[in-house]
Amino acid sequence: MKILIAGGSKSGKSDFAQTLALKLAGTGRRFYIATMLPFDAEDRARIQNHRLRRAGMGFETLEEPRHPLRCLEAGPGVYLVDSVTALLTNALFPREADYRFSPESGEACLKELLDFAGQAEDAVFVLDMIFSDSNGYPPETERFRRLLGTAGQRLAARCDTVLEASAGRIFLHKGAVPK
C-alpha cells in the first residue's frame, strides 16, 4: 500500500506518517529514508528532533538525499520518504555544484521518485504544501514549486491513500486510512 500525506509546516504530517508506516509494517521491516542534507546548526537540530521523535519505533535509517531507487536494495518493507520536498530541493540545488540551480537534476529526481513509487510495495510519502501564497517568487523558486506541485499530483495518482494534515488533524482525500 502507498500513502501520500501532504500539509503545511508543523501540521503533524511527519508524526502521522510514522504512525502509518508502523501500521503498514506490522512486525516487518520499516525504513526511514532520511533526505535532509544539513546546511547549518538549525538543520542539524531539526534532524536531531526528527530522530528523537522516531526513536524506539524500529526504523532502519537510510541516508539518501537524492536517489530513492537505491534504497529499494534494502529489501521488502515499508519505506517512509520524509520528505519529497527535501529530496527535490537537494536535486534542484545540488550541493556538489555549490547549490547552483539545476532543473535537469530536479526533473531526473522526480522521475526517479515516481519509478520508486511504482516499484515499492509499501511506502509513505511526506510532502509540503507551499502553494497558496499571493506573492510571486523568482523564476527558480517558481520552478521548484512547480516541480513539487507536479510531484504531489503524480504521487497522488499513484497512491492508494492521500491525506492532508492540518494542525495535527487529518483529512482524507482518497482511499482509506489503514486500521
Binding site: L4, S132, N135, Q153, A157, V162, E164, H173, K174
Partner: protein, 125 residues
Amino acid sequence: MILIFGGAYQGKTAWAKAQFDLRDADIYACTAEEAPNFSKKCWTNLENFTRFCLARGVDPEEWFRENRLAWEGKVLIFRDIFCGVVPLSGEDRAWREATGRALQYLAGEAGRVSRIFCGLEQRLK
C-alpha cells in the same frame, strides 16, 4: 456555474478539463492586462481578472454581481492566494482581499464548489 480553486500547481485546469470534457479552445486564461473572452466556457486564472478590474477602479465582487449573464453556466477557476503572509504592498493587499470577497460571493452562487488538492477534488458544495 462551477467554481474551482486550489493552490498553484495543483492541476486545477487539468482536473476541470477531464471532469467537464473541456478542450483547450474552451478555455480562456485571464491576464491582468486584457478583458476576458466572455464567450469561453471556462475561465482560468481569475485572480488575474480581479487585478484587471482593480486597475480600472472596478470592484471584482461588484463586477460579478452585475454581470451574472457573463459567467452563469461557466466553469470558473481561481488560484488560492489567501494563505501566505499579508502582502507588503497596499495594492497587493487590496487585490488579495477583493479576490477573496469575489470568491466568497461566487461560492455562494455556485452550483458546485471544488477545491483541488494534489490533483484530487475536495467537494465543498
